[in-house]
């Protein structure tokens, strides 16, 4: 099975599991029918959504499995016809040896910058209320900008990023709170 088919199968399985969990969740929904049952209650639509998702995800899974089965038959016929040795992609020996450093290899599977971006965003959100808008934004702008800038240009941009992060956070805070009358948390600067 190639990686595209694996992805497609994964989509089907994810939605199947999700829909089952979602349908189990409908049992906790309370229903009210004060004027008698003249149609649907608050549980009916979620149940219908769950059933439709089960059907669609099953179609997705079955269609991928059928497609894979057909491809296997075709490829096995081709293998028997050909005399030369055909490499099975599932065999470990066929997998190209990984290239680059350990960091680069990890980055190919899970992009390090993406994971760090999400981590910075989580810290930013967690600190937003407690630490306050200005300090948390300075941290986030600085951390994210340093993360995204190309390695060879990091030194060149260093001063600008620091000044920009501080300046932008302070200006945004004052523009939004003083001129646009929005509330932003002051936090420890309060």
């Amino acid at each position: 099975m190639n990686s595209d088919s694996k992805k497609e199968l994964g989509v089907g399985i994810f939605f199947l599991v999700l829909s089952v969990a979602y349908m189990i969740g409908t049992t906790t929904i309370s229903t009210f029918t004060p004027f008698g049952n003249r149609g649907l209650d608050s549980r009916s639509i979620p149940l219908l959504i769950g059933i439709l998702t089960v059907i669609m995800s099953s179609i997705q899974i079955i269609s991928i499995l059928v497609k894979e089965h057909k491809m296997k038959i075709v490829s096995s016929e081709q293998v028997s016809d050909e005399t030369e040795e055909v490499c099975d992609p599932d065999e470990i020996a066929c997998v190209e040896p990984p290239k680059g450093t350990i960091i680069q290899r990890i980055d190919n599977v899970v992009p390090v910058k993406l994971v760090l971006s999400m981590l910075f965003l989580m810290i930013y959100i967690a600190a937003y209320q407690r630490v306050g808008f200005i300090l948390s934004s300075i941290f986030f702008l600085m951390a994210e900008s340093f993360l995204l800038v190309r390695d060879e240009e990091r030194k060149k941009w260093r001063i600008f990023i620091i000044l920009f992060s501080i300046g932008a956070s302070v200006i945004i805070y004052f523009v939004f709170t003083k001129y646009l009358s929005l509330f932003l948390p002051r936090g420890i600067l309060g």
């Binding site: 939605f15 149609g39 995204l148 929005l182």
Partner: protein, 498 residues
């Protein structure tokens, strides 16, 4: 009606604040449209909190100006970088980049701006004339009509976006699942709240939209390894083109605008698809199809007029039915809601003056786009060099303000992150996002009207078939599904044959 149109237009031109915000919106839009990796939806998400405190007409005018500017701005990077600034200008790269390489970048830019101007004007004109009439018609809709029209919109978008109808429908159902979190319509029963007070009010539409479109874009920018861009040089004198360049292209211009308009009206598709379809139609109708791809004006005119005409088209279902035509109009729907208005048939009756005011500002924005792009092209080209490592974090900070300001709660910011990750995963697994958005937006209307319809008819579902409008929409639903399934079957067969 014409009096209202005229007074609405006059109100815009008499209000310096409106003019200023439309100008600013157009500038922001062009910049976001021009910068590859940042879309007009990100621009709209970023500037939404700025409009919170503005008067409704000014705030919404600014948002529509960003939408118009962003759709046109995509042509700059499409021609000078060979990278479409927005998905709406993909087809512009087919001819624009070869023209730029042949030393005709100025002409390509000039023609693109002109086609954008004509396309937007046609779209805005049709929207101004058609929307009020359609709104009057939809006033007669009852629960069954609303149920069937929302059902039609949902199936249509699921069928038309992406390659797989199954994945499209799964995406729509996924969006509907999130919409059921909170209190149910009609009887306010708690659903999937897990005892959390925060979840009782469910996820706000803007949190979902900004998360799915803007935050996922930011996360995807963090994970992509884009090489540094190289801007091609250009020379542009006057408008960049002469009347001779338009010879033989007027029919192409009008036809492509109409294609864009028609596709824009269909829910969830918009300019990102219309430019490619208009380009193919133009190529098929051309006397010299072999020249397409080598750098000829016809393709640029087709692409740019159609994507801009889609703006007016996409606004029609939004204003008359509350169904967004594309991602940008979904954000606009959120903008309307923030300003206390619910797009739909009653909008014209309750806020007629404001709507015509917005129409007027759209016309003004169209003119500003053309003037700014012709006169300030040098400045926008310089902005192409602004590094994303400065812009991307700034977008996150501004989007977070927008989410936080909805209810002064950090919960909505966590929602942004959640939907950002969902959006990123959906794009990685090639699950189309528009059906998710429409599923989320329309679930409430679908459920409310279905339940209401069944209550009126004492639980008899068959009544839906006895009403002409609802029957018509059910037939259209079946037809769209059958057509898509047939097309998928044919393309699968063709692929097998090849």
């Amino acid at each position: 009606m014409f009096e209202l149109i005229l007074s609405g237009y006059a109100a815009v031109f008499a209000d310096p604040m409106s003019i200023g915000m439309v100008f600013l919106g157009v500038m922001v839009g062009i910049i976001f449209g021009a910068l590859p990796g940042l879309t007009v939806v990100a621009g709209l998400s970023m500037f939404l909190p700025v409009t919170y405190v503005m008067a409704s007409n000014v705030g919404l005018s600014m948002l529509t100006a960003i939408y118009i500017g962003g759709t046109s701005g995509g042509l700059i990077s499409a021609i000078l970088l060979n990278i479409p600034g927005t998905p709406a200008s993909i087809a512009t790269t087919f001819e624009g980049a070869p023209m730029a390489k042949n030393g005709l970048a100025g002409k390509a830019l000039g023609l693109g701006v002109f086609a954008s101007l004509v396309g937007t004007l046609i779209g805005v004109a049709v929207m101004t004339l058609l929307s009020p009439t359609l709104a009057l018609l939809t006033l007669k809709f009852g629960p069954w009509e609303y149920f069937t029209v929302t059902f039609f919109a949902l199936t249509l978008i699921s069928a038309l976006t992406g390659k797989s109808i199954v994945k499209g429908l799964l995406s729509a159902l996924f969006g509907m699942m999130f919409a059921t979190i909170g209190l149910s319509p009609i009887d306010s029963a708690r659903r999937y709240t897990f005892g959390s007070l925060q979840l009782t009010s469910g996820f706000h539409l803007l949190v979902v939209l900004v998360g799915l479109y803007a935050i996922s874009e930011v996360l995807s920018a963090a994970s992509s390894k884009r090489p540094p861009v190289k801007v091609l040089s250009y020379k542009m004198k006057g408008l960049g083109f002469s009347a001779k360049d338009l010879k033989g292209n007027w029919i192409n211009l009008i036809r492509s605008s109409l294609v864009g308009l028609g596709i824009g009206i269909l829910p969830g598709i918009g300019g990102s698809t219309s430019n490619i379809i208009a380009y193919s139609v133009s190529k098929n109708a051309s006397k010299h199809p072999e020249k397409y791809g080598t750098g000829i004006p016809d393709g640029i005119i087709a692409s740019e007029s159609s994507n801009n005409a889609s703006i007016g088209g996409a606004m029609i279902p939004l204003l008359t039915l509350g169904i967004p035509g594309d991602g940008a109009t979904a954000i606009l729907l959120g903008g309307f809601m923030l300003h206390g208005m619910v797009p739909g048939p009653l909008l014209f009756q309750q806020n007629g003056d404001l709507i015509y005011n917005i129409f007027g500002s759209m016309l003004l924005a169209t003119v500003f786009v053309a003037i700014l792009m012709w006169a300030g092209m040098r400045m926008f080209v310089k902005i192409l060099k602004v590094p994303t490592h400065i812009l991307v974090p700034l977008i996150v900070v501004l989007c977070s303000i927008g989410a936080y300001a909805l209810g002064n709660r950090v919960f909505d910011m966590w929602g942004l992150l959640l939907f950002g990750v969902i959006g990123l995963l959906m794009s990685r697994f090639k699950i189309p996002v528009p059906p998710f958005i429409l599923g989320f937006i329309l679930e409430g209307a679908l459920e409310t009207n279905l339940r209401r319809g069944l209550e009126y008819s004492n639980g008899n579902f068959w009544e839906v078939f006895t009403r002409p409008i609802s029957s018509m929409f059910l037939i259209l639903t079946l037809l769209s599904l059958a057509t898509t399934l047939y097309k998928q079957y044919r393309s699968a067969k063709r692929a097998k044959g090849a």
